[in-house]
């Protein structure tokens, strides 16, 4: 509990959190609005509407992952990891506190991103007089699924940050993975094909109910992503406990 409060104060006491949140919200709104400029006949399609509103989940996941990674890499970069581990030599507990705090803030990020994308998208489609094809379950999945996916990706971010340690490669790696590496692996080029939907970014999209034909069912995606998060967090904690602190 003491460690959770400590980690929470660390998150609140710099401008990083607010900066990430503002950037995420700005991108969610722009993405939803830009996508709503697509041709009307395309937007009338349920599949496209899910894709447009799903931009919230994607950006929530991305920024939650960055937030999680920075909770550890920023400490390494600034050297505060030394006093942190002097005050709490049980490094696995420090990592656990970082995972829990990032998980919680990540859920908030995902919730806001999902809701903002739905709100902005709905408003834009209504303004263009395009009929919405989504039902209540879709909206719940888009918002709650986005929160769940982002919270789990925040935990993955902590694990990746703890393994990579250097801030820039960790953040660039996360961005690269989510923005195009997964797409390449799953796409025709590498030809993982059907296996692609089991990758962690696709699992996150599955939770919010996107692309129901191609992706896993939401519950399966959730279970799979939770497993990824657990593995990443454990690997990060193990590496941090064993390695020397610079």
């Amino acid at each position: 509990m003491a460690l959770l409060r400590s980690e929470l104060l660390k998150q609140r006491s710099t401008r990083t959190l607010l900066g990430l949140f503002a950037a995420m919200l700005g991108l969610v709104l722009s993405a939803a609005l830009l996508h709503s400029l697509l041709p009307a006949e395309q937007l009338a399609n349920r599949h496209t509407q899910l894709m447009v509103f799903g931009r919230g989940e994607f950006l929530g996941v991305l920024f939650a992952a960055l937030l999680g990674a920075m909770s550890i890499t920023a400490e390494i970069r600034h050297g505060t990891i030394r006093p942190t581990f002097l005050f709490s030599p049980r490094r696995d507990r420090v990592l656990a506190a970082k995972v829990l705090v990032s998980f919680t803030i990540g859920a908030g990020f995902g919730l806001v991103a999902g809701a903002a994308a739905v709100a902005a998208g709905t408003a834009a489609l209504r303004a263009r007089g395009i009929e919405l094809q989504l039902d209540g379950r879709d909206y719940v999945l888009l918002v709650a699924g986005s929160a769940a996916a982002a919270s789990l990706w925040a935990a993955i971010g902590v694990g990746v940050g703890a393994l990579v340690r250097h801030q820039v490669p960790a953040l660039v790696g996360i961005c690269a993975w989510l923005l195009f590496v997964e797409g390449l692996l799953a796409g025709d080029l590498v030809g993982l094909g059907d296996v692609g939907r089991f990758l962690p970014g696709s699992a996150a999209s599955a939770i919010s109910g996107q692309d129901p034909g191609a992706l896993l069912a939401p519950a399966t995606g959730l279970a799979l992503l939770a497993a990824y998060a657990a593995v990443a967090a454990l690997a990060g904690a193990l590496a941090t406990s064993r390695r020397d602190v610079g």
């Binding site: 003491a2 104060l9 710099t14 600034h78 050297g79 505060t80 030394r82 006093p83 049980r90």
Partner: protein
Amino acid sequence: MTKRIEEGETPIAPSTHGGAVVTVSSLTKLFGEIVAVDDLTFSLPRGTVTGFLGPNGAGKTTTLRLLLGLAEPTAGEALVFGRRYRDLDQPAHRVGAVLESTDFHRGRSGRDHLRALALAAKIPPARVEELLELVELATAAERRVKTYSLGMRQRLGLATALLGDPELLILDEPANGLDPAGVHWLRRFLRRFAEQGRTVLVSSHMLAEAAQTVDDVVIIDHGRLVTTGRLDELTQDGRTLEDVFLALTGAAS
């Protein structure tokens, strides 16, 4: 409190009463092929200020990191109060340390830096305010650390180390960046700290300053112990600490 010794049990010398506060024995640390610390052995008695001296790259900082559990020894051991740092019950209440004067998030205020660490070690917030007063940062406490001068950062580092009211203070080059008044303040502070029966291990390569502050010295070079002993005994033949140091570390021309 004295621990009752059962009949037939070998009495173990209590490590905290008159015994050694720091025990380094046959300590060795390799980084790949490089030998950073080489079979180093020394101990610190309670209530003294010990200067940990050596040229750059002698292995001072590595030794301190090993002592504080931030790195694992390749061989040998480095104990504080007879135990490994990480095995201490409430380490921040026994040992305070500053390894780098830059270990702050530049965008966090001095007060929040102290508070976050205080929370982790269950130290009351009032103690944070007390230390901000002590190191004369109370008026700058809300400012972000990036606006602090080097001297202010040194003092914030010292406040960090003192949060848990420790019995042992380990400082790596604490006088860097302090102005003459700051150096004077630090020296008096360390002397008073030791007079209360507490112990200080301070690494330095500022020999003239160290000579005015320390009782004992541990001099290392190339990761090995060169000499250890009381400063007044080492310099009794009229030589300065600098003469002794340069002669022993082979840096004299």
